[in-house]
């Protein structure tokens, strides 16, 4: 079994672990990782990550480029929406690209007035039809030979009921 060591000195007679320094892109590790054992393991992991084959690093590079392109698209979309909002606001203030107030009121109130007029017309027509029906009934009663008081008599009502064809 090989004898490995995390301690940098003294050098062991057999192989000792001395991981290479971390690459320039790796920022200095914060002080919260203070345990010597953990730091040694982390250095070993860094060393392993630095020794990736070209096939892997190239693929990672391509993935990063694709992600950056995606982020550019997102930022452009956000920027465009922000500009659209800003332009819409300033346009309203300056009176550009927006219809004037009378026109907007007209466009809003016209359909409302049409709906109200429709309701009024329907109500009037309904009243007129009801008045016609009442007039027809009155006319029939007045032109009948039987006096109108007879219809209020209980016996006459029974007579009509019994002699109904």
């Amino acid at each position: 079994m090989t004898n490995h060591s995390f301690r940098p000195a003294p050098p062991a007679p057999t192989s000792s672990y001395a991981p290479p320094a971390i690459g320039p892109t790796r920022p200095a590790r914060s002080a919260r990782t203070t345990d010597a054992f953990t730091r040694s393991v982390v250095r070993a992991l860094d060393a392993g990550a630095e020794r990736l084959p070209y096939r892997v690093t190239h693929r990672l590079q391509l993935a990063s480029q694709a992600a950056l392109a995606a982020q550019t698209a997102v930022l452009e979309t956000v920027e465009a929406s922000v500009f659209a909002t800003v332009n819409a606001g300033s346009g309203a203030r300056a009176g550009y690209d927006q219809p004037s107030l009378p026109w907007r009121l007209l466009v809003t109130l016209l359909p409302l007035a049409a709906i109200i007029a429709g309701f009024v017309a329907i109500a009037d027509i309904g009243d007129a039809l009801e008045a016609d029906e009442t007039a027809e009934i009155d006319e029939a009663v007045l032109t009948d030979e039987v006096p109108i008081a007879a219809y209020a008599d209980h016996g006459f009502g029974v007579f009509l009921k019994n002699n109904r064809p």
Binding site: A47, P53, L75
Partner: protein, 198 residues
């Protein structure tokens, strides 16, 4: 005007720097979990794309935690899909007969052998010893239980604090501390048994 409106969002350069700094470790994390280079590359690429597409407008300081959370979710999704797929494969295999020998020959060190071969030209004694040490440590990291490995790598390798690690893992800060403690303890015992002096 856009500079003032879009202030706070990670710039292209900041995202580029972040991805450059994290891509290798992310790949190794994924390899430790899935034990396959190509699958790990796919997972890292997915995580990068999702970070850029969904969180490309977030401040740069939020990127590490967001990326780690996405990556861990991607890894877990991979295992969930495999679990379903393996169920049907097992069912199919049971119907067809006993599995072949190749199915039982999984070697956890296999992914490191190719890496070792690519470095064969630099075969000084120290280099070999160093590589061997790295390989053993990576093997033991790989053998840790999943949650312990995640906590250890996020907390110590990615240098996230406890709260960030908990957010990335979707668990409590107490669980993170427990996982880290157990991982460190298990790792120390395992490495000592393989000839490392603590």
């Amino acid at each position: 005007m856009s500079a003032t409106i879009l202030v706070g969002m990670a710039s292209r350069q900041e995202l580029s720097d972040f991805l450059s700094s994290v891509e290798r470790r992310a790949f190794k994390q994924a390899v430790f979990a899935v034990r396959d280079d190509d699958t790990a590359l796919d997972l890292v690429q997915d995580a990068m794309m999702r970070l850029a597409e969904r969180y490309g407008d977030k401040p740069a300081e939020e990127l590490p935690m967001l990326f780690q959370r996405i990556l861990q979710n991607r890894i877990h999704d991979h295992f969930r899909r495999n679990k379903v797929r393996n169920f049907w494969v097992t069912l199919w295999s049971a119907l067809r007969g006993p599995p072949g020998e190749a199915d039982d020959d999984f070697d956890p060190l296999e992914s490191f052998e190719a890496e070792e071969g690519s470095q064969a030209a630099e075969s000084t004694e120290d280099r070999v010893a160093s590589e061997q040490s790295v390989r053993i440590i990576e093997e033991e990291i790989e053998r840790l239980p999943t949650r312990q490995r995640e906590a250890f790598l996020l907390r110590y390798w990615e240098d996230l604090d406890v709260a960030e690690t908990a957010a990335a893992m979707g668990c409590s800060q107490g669980s993170v501390k427990t996982h880290c403690s157990r991982a460190t303890h298990s790792l120390a015992i395992a490495l000592r048994s393989r000839g490392f002096k603590s």
